[in-house]
């Protein structure tokens, strides 16, 4: 840092008022008198014969973001508000034999403690309600919450959860989805099978078409577990009024579903709950179901005060949904000219400890798995498997990026084997207006070839041929 020493010295000595009058080359921070905004009115972008659609219209929230005025949940406070923290299991599979909250409850400043047994309906999930809000008798992954505390400061709440003593009896666990599919694998949610949802798409006659193919290629592709990593962690505030009406401010992206889940878990009528979705610092699919909202509501009820909970960065990784790891096995039969005659796809997705959005992900991925190509003979079989790891849920794409990686890498392999340019083989097989999708749907507004040609032209694909 090369600031002039005399400048630094000047800043130490003089008052802000004096410094404001000095030359600009001192490069002092702007002195804002904390006044009102707006500063400049946003200039109208209305044009002749208004066409609002197609405008590069300025976002009004860009101004509030740039000024630091946007209020996220962590920036909101209610009088008397308490802070909640959740104790995490830290063990992937176990029976809970004992939870002792006495020491935490005895701490000054701790206003309420909650365990699974206190929750009226301790289960939720968009398709299968297999996820508890707080683990009751069983822990299914290391990020499971086992108890929650509300205290007058965040630090106190964090200290209090350390004082909660939980005794676990470890149970067998399974972490690899391929292993979890075997009959002898430990059952994650006994007595149910670990394979908890399957999909199948079948069209034409793949066996016959493979026999007629000039060449058959196989490929196996895997993708890893990743996390949304939004800059803003999951957060919510719960507050009751004197009439027993609950207001929840939350980072949820689906407030009606959130309200329904809160009503179900707390056994409340829907019109006794108000859910307000605040401006969110990133979602990417990770904030589409409830996480702590009913917990905060019960802590608020017990303590008689509003309660706010903000996940730590650690919890963002360990206690919220992630992207499904996929294992994808492809087999494709092609003609000599590179036309795809038949394709089989087998998808095995790591379904984590709870279903969450797995059903949707598997469904979408199956439909997309063959790629945007005209394939008359197709068989897709897909399986989602429980493991004792962080639950896998919705994340930008719902399985689309994983299968795209597979079908496009596979396409390159096919192109390579046949000696055909990767662009050409795609143009040869891609959907056209009116093509039939893998599920027999007639497609409209199909512009995949346009996008291939446009990208190739802008990139200089033909010119840069190696």
């Amino acid at each position: 840092m090369d600031r002039k020493p005399e400048v630094i010295e000047l800043e130490r000595r003089e008052t802000p008022g004096k410094l404001q009058g000095l030359e600009d080359n001192l490069r002092l921070p702007a002195v804002a008198p904390g006044g009102d905004f707006p500063i400049e009115k946003l200039v109208s972008e209305a044009r002749q014969q208004t066409h609002a659609v197609g405008q590069r219209a300025t976002r009004s929230d860009c101004r509030t973001h740039g000024l630091g005025q946007t209020k996220y949940i962590a920036d909101l406070a209610l009088p008397g508000m308490l802070h909640a923290k959740i104790k995490r299991a830290g063990i992937a599979s176990a029976h809970i034999t004992r939870i002792d909250t006495a020491a935490a409850e005895a701490m000054p400043g701790v206003m309420a403690v909650l365990i699974g047994r206190d929750i009226p309906v301790n289960s939720f999930g968009p398709s299968i309600q297999d996820q508890p809000l707080l683990a009751h008798e069983r822990v299914f992954h290391a990020g499971d919450g086992v108890a929650a505390v509300a205290a007058v400061t965040e630090q106190l709440a964090a200290d209090a959860i350390e004082k909660i003593a939980v005794t676990y009896e470890p149970m067998p666990a399974v972490f690899d989805p391929m292993a979890a599919m075997r009959d002898d694998a430990p059952k994650v949610h006994p007595p149910n099978s670990n394979i908890y949802t399957t999909k199948r798409i079948a069209k034409g006659d793949v066996a016959k078409a493979f026999k007629e193919s000039y060449l058959t290629l196989e490929g196996r592709f895997c993708t890893q577990m990743v996390e949304h990593a939004s800059m803003e962690p999951h957060a919510a505030i719960a507050d009751w009024d004197a009439n027993g009406r609950l207001t929840i401010w939350s980072t949820l992206g689906r407030i009606n579903l959130g309200r329904a889940d809160i009503a179900r878990t707390l056994k409340l009528p829907l019109n006794r709950i108000r859910v307000i979705g605040t401006i969110v610092g990133g979602n990417f699919g990770g904030k589409n179901e409830i996480t702590q909202e009913p917990i905060l509501a019960l802590l608020a009820k017990k303590s008689g005060r509003p309660v706010r909970g903000i996940f730590t960065r650690d919890e963002e990784f360990t206690a919220t949904t992630t992207r499904h790891p996929f294992v994808m096995e492809y087999s494709t039969g092609v003609s000599r000219e590179g036309h795809i005659l038949a394709r089989t796809v087998r998808l095995i997705i790591d379904g984590g400890a709870y279903c969450s959005w797995t059903e949707t992900t598997l469904g979408k991925a199956s439909i997309l798995a063959a790629g945007p190509y005209r394939i008359p003979n197709l068989l897709i079989e897909a399986f989602a498997v429980y493991t004792n790891k962080t639950m896998t849920g919705a994340m930008r794409g719902f399985g689309a990026p994983q299968v795209c990686f597979a079908y496009e890498s596979h396409m390159d392999d096919i192109a390579n084997a046949l000696g055909i340019d990767p662009l050409d083989i795609r143009l040869r097989n891609a959907f056209e207006e009116g093509s039939e999708s893998p599920t027999g749907q007639t497609l409209h507004s199909v512009v995949i070839k346009d996008s291939l040609l446009k990208a190739a032209q802008q990139f200089g694909w033909r010119e840069a041929r190696p």
């Binding site: 208004t50 976002r59 990593a229 689906r254 009606n256 990784f317 795209c404 496009e408 507004s445």
Partner: protein
């Protein structure tokens, strides 16, 4: 030694939920000065949806984007919306808002028709006026019409509507059906340098050509695609949650879970592919997720 390579990947992505109904409801209220307020249950998660929805409402009402204020995300005050998920907001919520605006406009046209001496069917809304089609000199300001609705007609110009993409259930054994009403398509080409000793990959340049139907706000579409490419670079090259033998995460923090930074970003060129979807609001589809195709391009390994 660094070797340069390139890869091409194309993809398709559906808009909305798989088969199941995912409706959006909306209300449009035109004020006495011609500005309007839109009520929608959707949530702004940073993608700029509230701006896009304002543009759709403005287009339908014949006003300008800054005349529209969007109120969102309150179960007490805004109508039901399935939510900001599955890239559905522009398409589904957008259609609901367009229809709600049309319903509000129908009341405005009734009031305006009385003043202009024509049938409501002869009117159109443009440039903050309600004017006669083919004879734009005969017009009345939208605000005037709105005032008349309240004070003369006795019916305020408020319109409500809901919309759901039409689908057909899939056969449980063969999967045949119409799970989505529309799809978007995209191609990305990446140029990369690979160090053949360390295996390190550097993405130099990405050219992206994306279909989103009519782009309601091209600037926001570009922002979404660039954001998606950033996540694609991370997914393809850097990010991974690691577990130990006991099933505990090893790197649950931003120091050891490697996110892409500015220094990892390639040069990006975004091109929007011309397309019009008649089932979407003013031809729009959506863009949300299709941008993660970047991870399919140019990657030589089998495991990401």
């Amino acid at each position: 030694m660094k070797r340069r390579g390139r890869g091409i990947a194309c993809m398709w992505y559906p808009i909305g939920f798989t088969v199941s109904a995912n409706p959006s409801a909306a209300t449009v209220m035109v004020n006495e000065d011609g500005t309007a307020t839109v009520l929608t249950g959707t949530v702004e998660t940073g993608q700029g949806s509230l701006t896009v929805l304002a543009q759709i409402a403005a287009e339908a009402l014949g006003t300008s984007t800054e005349d529209i204020h969007v109120v969102s995300a309150d179960t007490d005050a805004t109508p039901m919306d399935t939510g900001a998920i599955a890239s559905r907001t522009t398409y589904v919520t957008g259609n609901a808002i367009r229809m709600a605006a049309d319903n509000a406009k129908a009341i405005l046209f009734e009031a305006a028709a009385q003043v202009l001496g024509v049938e409501p069917g002869q009117l159109e809304a443009r440039d903050r006026n309600i004017q006669v089609k083919g004879f734009p000199h005969r017009k009345i300001a939208i605000g005037e019409a709105a005032k008349r609705c309240q004070l003369v007609l006795g019916r305020p110009p408020i319109g409500t509507a809901s919309w759901n993409p039409p689908t057909v259930a899939m056969d449980p054994d063969t999967g045949q059906g119409k799970p989505f009403s529309t799809y978007v398509y995209a191609t990305q080409i990446a140029e990369v340098d690979v160090d053949d000793e360390t295996g390190e990959v550097e993405v130099i340049r990405v050219v992206a050509a994306h279909d989103c139907g009519t782009p309601v706000n091209p600037m926001l579409v570009e922002g979404q695609i660039e954001g998606g490419i950033a996540m694609g670079v991370g997914f393809a090259l850097q990010e991974e949650i690691l577990f130990d033998a006991a099933g505990t995460q090893v790197n649950p923090n931003l120091a050891n879970y490697i996110l892409p930074t500015t220094l990892d970003m390639p040069k990006i060129e975004v091109h929007i592919v011309e397309s019009y979807d008649p089932t979407g609001p003013f031809g729009a589809k959506g863009v949300g997720r299709a941008d993660l195709g970047a991870d399919g391009s140019g990657h030589p390994q089998r495991d990401l």
